[in-house]
């Protein structure tokens, strides 16, 4: 579904992403983990078409992101870590906007939009301005808007931030449903339980590079910690990656 090759992104002299290469299969939930500043959000924003890479290529479902970004955007939906929305629109108008941008039939926007608002427990708030919503309600509305055009790839950055346990359970269920329906999910999270529970494969990112990639069993093997939790593996691998440059810099 996604093929990333030699991806680089620099902000001035700071290199946020340093030569990432990985691929993601169709229909899988791919976890993207890493400590703060590892380059997760930057990578996700590049794949979502929000920022351009400094070097490297990204292909989504066969479409080269640099050459045909519109085709990529048409089949993907992005859910950012912070739910910035047009505060002066109502929940339904937000869906109407997103549906319009994707050229969906109005009948579909209406019926599917209503269905999604009910699913995300926003049915009673359909005609209320977004400015009156709590953080969790906005996050749920972003999910509803993202699912409206039936994306083949869902890019989700920190989905659990600001959600109550009920909302978090709903989101986990929705992510699994998406995969069962044939879509793929590219997911970044700091919540190890969520990653362990919903992800088929996980990449652990550290300082702009992939420190490890594989299924839970493969990660355990790589970390040489059989039976350990994802949290233990994560801490072990990211700690190793953190000390690497010091070793590299040491005199021979």
């Amino acid at each position: 579904m996604i093929v990333v090759q030699s991806l680089h992104k620099s902000y001035g002299e700071f290199e946020a992403v340093r030569g990432l290469t990985f691929h993601m299969r169709h229909g899988e939930v791919f976890g993207f983990l890493g400590p703060n500043g590892a380059g997760k959000s930057t990578t996700m924003r590049i794949i979502a078409g929000l920022i351009q890479p400094s070097a490297g290529t990204v292909t989504v479902d066969g479409h080269d992101l640099a050459r045909d970004p519109i085709a990529v955007k048409a089949i993907t939906s992005f859910i950012p870590d912070r739910p910035f929305l047009y505060e002066k629109l109502t929940a339904f108008e937000t869906l109407e906007l997103v549906g319009g941008l994707h050229r969906l039939p109005r009948a579909e926007i209406g019926t599917r939009g209503a269905e999604l608002l009910r699913r995300f427990e926003l049915g009673d708030w359909a005609d209320a301005l977004v400015e009156s919503f709590s953080h969790g309600m906005k996050q749920r509305l972003v999910f509803a808007a993202a699912l409206l055009p039936r994306p083949r790839l869902l890019i989700v950055d920190e989905p659990m931030v600001g959600l109550d346990p009920r909302g978090a359970r709903l989101v986990k269920a929705v992510l699994r449903e998406q995969c069962e329906a044939g879509a793929s999910v590219f997911l970044s999270t700091h919540t190890m339980d969520v990653a362990q529970e919903v992800c088929d494969r996980i990449a652990i990112l550290s300082r702009g590079r992939i420190a490890a990639l594989g299924t839970m069993d493969e990660l355990r093997a790589e970390a040489q910690e059989p039976g350990s939790s994802l949290e233990q593996i994560f801490l072990r691998l990211t700690e190793e990656a953190r000390t690497e440059p010091a070793a590299e810099d040491a005199p021979a």
Binding site: A48, I51, L101, R103, A126
Partner: protein, 571 residues
């Protein structure tokens, strides 16, 4: 926590601009150099113009006095409008207010810090760029050092008066009406400002000095030097004080500078007193207006059920269309976002000044000082200037006002150029309507005739389209997504570049339009046919006058779109 601590944080924010990604040292240096050039330009132009005025015997000095008074009144009006707009943001809507109000900050410290911030933010540009005019007055009159010391003291003190007044008005209205009713409030204020401006400018009657039929006898005119028609206004106190230092004719009654300083101090203390009495309640109301209102049914229309909205949309049928979806979003946001309505206040003030200026222009035409063709180009230039000014307030911030929600549009499967073109269309249509209407009305009022009116309209409409594109494109090239105040968005490097570019474009179009306009007038009205080569040259100039703004707008929009595609929300 003292006011000094609060202000220091603001000062550090300003000082760190050179290190910020938004500004950076290069942009800051360009901005400073451009500012200096404008400052020197105003000074040089003022000196040239005032030299001409003073040389008109025997009434030149009297005209200078009136001119100083007019400029001061203009400064006072601009300061009042900008302070009023800023006061709502500074005292009720600023992002840092909840954190400050939640801290153990004394009322006096908070008031002093916000008052100073409001005054400095709303006044520095007006005061700074008026200063070269007063310097030029002194140079034209060969004034003593006392004159220069007086204007250097009087201008900042004058600026504090509208600040205090604006704070008092904002606090009282915020206390009585609640921030939710800001829209009605601003319409009320706009009407008030319009009325006051109009009455005051009419009282000065500037056209009397150029109309020989209405010009007052010399003795009467000299007598006016001693008495201002608005002696109760601070601008008149400053004018009296400055005139006292220049003192070529007439005597100054009382101590105008003392009046100014004591008046400013008194208003500052009254504003502080009003702040202590009203702020807690007014701020609380403003928070209720901004925050979450679960179960609140105060929104403009009754809440409809999901079934009803769905049925209405399904009944419309057809497909959603990106351009129409974005236009509908823009329309809804504009109508519901009260902070954007503050821009209307400036629009009203601009139109007021425009209309008032025309009585002056018309008098100049009636007295034969300016020919009908000359009036046409003045009309065109003033109309174009209003278009430049309106575009910087409405078209330039259009992309930045999308704010952090712009990721939704960036993520949409449509080219950014299409997004910008859609915005260009929806902005250009009403702006062309407004500017076209203004220019047509004033052209008819000036008695320019159908031909010149049609030419004026044919020139100003493509110019407005081009200016809208230029403002929108530069707004996309220099976006400020983190600022939600439309008035602040245009104060950066992009806004300054737009003003320079817009005025240069206006100048180019007016110059290019001279030959073809005169050619058409001579051909239609006098049946004069010049050589074929000359006609061809006029035709080319005409085509460029119409085509240049459209081309500039198109290039600006394309470049803006490309920049947004490359840099996204981090642009």
């Amino acid at each position: 926590m003292s006011a000094r601590v609060l202000l220091r944080a603001k000062w550090r924010t300003l000082a760190n601009l050179r290190r910020s990604a938004q500004m950076g040292p290069t942009r800051l240096a360009v901005l400073v150099v451009m500012g200096l050039l404008v400052w020197l330009g105003i000074g040089a132009t003022s000196l040239w113009f005032l030299g001409k005025v003073v040389a008109i015997e025997p009434i030149g000095v009297v005209m200078l006095r009136k001119l100083v008074e007019l400029v001061l009144l203009f400064v006072l009006s601009i300061l009042t409008v900008s302070n009023l707009i800023a006061a709502f943001s500074t005292f009720f809507l600023a992002d840092d207010l909840p954190a400050l109000v939640a801290r153990p900050v004394t009322a006096n410290a908070l008031f002093t810090a916000r008052w100073a911030e409001n005054g400095l933010y709303a006044s520095w540009m007006t005061v700074g760029f008026t200063a070269p005019f007063f310097l030029a007055v002194g140079m034209a009159m060969d004034a003593p050092l006392a004159y220069h010391l007086r204007w250097l003291l009087a201008l900042p003190v004058l600026a504090t008066i509208p600040t205090s007044l604006a704070v008092i008005v904002a606090l009282l209205l915020g206390r009585v009406l609640s921030a939710r009713r800001t829209r009605q409030l601003l319409v009320l204020l706009a009407t008030m400002v319009f009325t006051v401006l109009f009455v005051l400018f009419r009282q000065l009657e500037p056209e009397r000095f150029v109309d020989p039929d209405q010009r007052a006898p010399l003795l009467e005119a000299l007598g006016q030097v001693q008495s201002s028609p608005t002696p109760w206004l601070p601008s008149a106190w400053v004018a009296d004080s400055l005139w006292g230092a220049l003192a070529p004719v007439g005597e100054v009654v009382g101590h105008p500078l003392l009046r100014l300083v004591t008046g400013a101090l008194a208003l500052f203390f009254v504003a502080g007193w009003v702040f202590r009495g009203t702020y807690r309640t007014a701020f609380s109301r403003a928070q209720e207006g901004q925050g979450r209102q679960a179960g609140d049914r105060e929104h403009t229309r009754p809440r409809r059920t999901l079934e009803a909205i769905t049925a209405a949309l399904v009944a419309r049928g057809g497909h959603g269309h990106p351009a129409r979806a974005l236009a509908a979003k823009d329309r809804r946001v504009f109508l519901r976002d009260t902070t954007q309505w503050t821009q209307m206040l400036l629009l009203v003030a601009l139109v007021a000044i425009y209309v008032v200026n025309f009585s002056y222009v018309r008098s100049a035409g009636d007295s034969g000082i300016i020919s009908a063709n000359g009036l046409h180009f003045i009309n065109l230039s003033l109309g174009g200037f209003v278009a430049v000014a309106i575009c910087v307030r409405f078209a330039f911030p259009a992309i930045s006002l999308e704010g952090r929600a712009f990721w939704i549009v960036l993520r949409a499967p449509l080219p950014m150029l299409e997004v910008l073109r859609g915005k260009w269309r929806s902005l250009a249509v009403p702006l062309c309507g407004l500017i076209g209407l203004l220019v047509t009305i004033t052209s008819v009022w000036l008695g320019s005739g159908w031909l010149l009116t049609a030419i004026a309209l044919g020139t100003v409409v493509p110019l407005t389209v081009g200016l809208t594109g230029l403002a929108l494109g530069l707004g996309a090239r220099f976006p400020r997504f983190h600022i939600d105040n439309a008035a602040k968005i245009a104060t950066g490097l992009g806004g300054v570049l737009y003003m320079f570019g817009g005025l240069a474009l206006l100048l180019a179009v007016v110059i290019l339009a001279v030959a073809p306009t005169l050619g058409v007038v001579q051909w239609v009205e006098h049946h004069y046919r010049p050589s074929l080569g000359w006609v061809a040259l006029q035709g080319v100039a005409g085509v460029i006058a119409v085509g240049l703004p459209l081309l500039v707008g198109r290039i600006a929009v394309r470049r803006g779109a490309r920049h947004l595609e490359q840099h996204g929300i981090n642009a």
